[in-house]
């Protein structure tokens, strides 16, 4: 019942959005129709193009490549973020020494780094993975770092008194305690992994969704650009729901928002 209501509301939002889009691009209320269509295409055109693409076979090849890059960037980036986050949080000196460098590295515009990645990793998927990695890593890193430091002092003291060594503390205390933080960052970084992959493809590649979008953009095919982004969006929702599922499983122990009676 509740689920149905939610879906209806979500659909409603979508319909309103499409209606506004349609209105803007097909009536001259908001300026010259030709110009608005040059930038925004029309929802009808975008949807029908998307449909054509999804029913054709070619897009899946590109999607597959982008998916591979995204998943790799996400997995490697979060793994490294988690690893470094934990290491730094557990080693104050290390954290203090590297703090300014990490902050600085996080601020480097990735687009500028693309040639260097291309040099190091070639034009294949790995340079895109590297780009996605630089986005995912920092988000996860900062959150895990904070998450570890947020561990309740009493729970930690208790675990230490139980004789746990560093590895056991990690498994039984730091890790579960940082999980909430991690998942919050993972929701952001799923998106950023995809952005990294697509931007990487956009800057130099031979396949992938970003390549398709760039191709469309070069010939001023806005419909193609938007339909590419639409496919991308559907895609990220799918990946994110996997993250949410894992999250739900791992965080069963948490008290609900309100007390639960029947």
């Amino acid at each position: 019942m509740k689920r149905a209501k939610l879906l209806i509301l979500q659909a409603l939002v979508m319909v309103v959005f499409l209606a506004v889009w349609h209105l803007v691009t097909t009536t001259s209320l908001f300026g010259d129709v030709k110009t608005t269509q040059f930038f925004f295409s029309t929802p009808g055109a975008v949807l029908s193009r998307t449909w054509t693409q999804l029913t054709g076979g070619e897009i899946y090849w590109h999607l597959g490549i982008t998916l591979t890059e995204t998943v790799l960037a996400f997995v490697i980036g979060s793994a490294a973020g988690i690893l470094f986050g934990f290491t730094f949080a557990r080693n104050e000196l290390l954290a203090a020494v590297f703090d300014p460098y990490i902050k600085a590295a996080n601020a480097l515009p990735r687009v500028v780094l693309a040639p260097i990645f291309a040099l190091w990793f070639g034009l294949g998927i790995w340079s895109k993975v590297a780009l996605g990695f630089t986005l995912v890593f920092f988000i996860v890193f900062f959150n895990v770092y904070q998450g570890v430091r947020e561990v309740s002092p009493t729970v930690l003291a208790n675990a230490r008194m139980l004789g746990m060594n560093e590895r056991q503390l990690f498994r039984h205390v730091y890790w579960p305690s940082a999980l909430t933080w991690m998942f919050s960052s993972l929701h952001t970084s799923v998106g950023f992994a995809l952005v990294g992959a697509v931007v990487g493809e956009y800057l130099g590649s031979s396949a992938g969704l970003g390549y398709k979008i760039h191709e469309a953009e070069s010939v001023f095919d806005v419909t193609g650009v938007f339909s590419g982004m639409l496919i991308l969006a559907m895609f990220v929702i799918a990946i994110d729901s996997v993250v949410t599922m894992v999250e739900k499983r791992l965080l069963v122990w948490r008290p609900g928002q309100s007390s639960t009676t029947v």
């Binding site: 291309a118 034009l123 760039h214 953009e217 001023f220």
Partner: protein
């Protein structure tokens, strides 16, 4: 007579590229000021972005590829060129050194990886056009976007691509380092003729038609400035150019820069006026390559207003 709009914004996708040298010349030589214009130059990440800025109204005029005006006319956007800056495309198709003895012409490209600035861009189209002319299909070789700058050099040095269809300074850099051998060179008249059968408008100054109609004096003054810089380039030596542009433009390697300028000098337009033949040759090439344009019917006389350039040439 005073300009209607003495302050204007100009868009360009990569100002430092030799492709757009006439713009830098006009700026540095003070030709805009001479005409009483105050031009703010906005640099964009690529030609497509500067065109979008023009359509969106963020800039008044753009120095970009002539091809854009055809595409825009096909989409119903009345965008027209007013002065030609480059008469040859300036694109070089080169093959990696170690393959040079096997690959002699576009007919041998089958299955090789071709590096271009971006899929769908003019470098890509030129490469595909060459293949079609040589009897292959456009899809016979994978097109790889390698970007515009150092990443293109990296791609070739790392043997990520076999062929590169690119612009200066990338081409000159690769040539100077001995990484590639040029097969088709549209920086020269001969090369362009060989590929397209005639000259082929490249960089132009284009704008929205109503802008030209509403601001004829401003447009005229702009064109005057550009024609003047074309005239200057006609007689300039590479060293003159190198002295004029900021030292950062020298690619960190002045001999390389001089070489690149020398290669390019021939490609700049002399009069600022494009011929209908040249325009048609461009359109035909596009029709061949782009399914969207294949069925289009663009009136080429609407893509270029030559009256301003004519007046400028006769005036000076």
């Amino acid at each position: 007579q005073n300009a209607e709009k003495p302050k204007l914004t100009l868009g360009v996708g990569g100002k430092q590229l030799l492709y757009y040298l006439p713009l830098t010349v006009a700026e540095k030589k003070g030709f805009f000021k001479e005409q009483g214009l105050d031009v703010e130059i906005n640099d964009f990440g690529g030609g497509a972005k500067s065109l979008q800025a023009l359509v969106g109204g963020s800039v008044d005029v753009v120095t970009g590829a002539y091809e854009h005006t055809i595409r825009m006319q096909a989409k119903g956007q009345d965008i027209r060129a007013v002065v030609e800056l480059g008469r040859f495309p300036g694109i070089t198709i080169a093959v990696r050194k170690d393959l040079a003895d096997k690959i002699k012409s576009a007919a041998d490209f089958k299955g090789l990886k071709i590096g271009v600035t971006a899929p769908g861009s003019s470098t890509a189209l030129t490469a595909q056009y060459a293949m079609i002319k040589a009897g292959l299909k456009a899809s016979d070789a994978p097109i790889i976007g390698v970007g515009a700058g150092a990443s293109a050099v990296a791609a070739m040095k790392q043997k990520q691509v076999d062929i590169i269809s690119h612009l200066d300074p990338v081409t000159s850099k690769l040539e100077a380092d001995g990484d590639v051998v040029a097969l088709i060179d549209t920086r020269t008249e001969a090369g362009t003729k060989a590929l397209f059968g005639g000259s082929n408008p490249a960089a132009v100054l284009y704008l929205k038609h109503d802008f030209a109609e509403k601001n004829p004096v401003t447009t005229q003054k702009l064109v005057n400035a550009f024609v003047k810089s074309l005239k200057w380039l006609e007689t300039a030596k590479p060293e003159d150019v190198a002295d004029l542009v900021p030292a950062e433009y020298h690619l960190g390697d002045k001999p390389l820069y001089l070489r690149a300028v020398k290669n390019s000098l021939e490609s700049y337009s002399r009069t600022g006026i494009s011929t209908p033949d040249a325009m048609k040759s461009m359109y035909d090439a596009l029709k061949l390559l782009d399914p969207e344009l294949a069925s289009s019917n663009v009136d080429l006389s609407k893509t270029f207003i030559d009256s301003f350039a004519k007046k400028a040439s006769s005036g000076s």
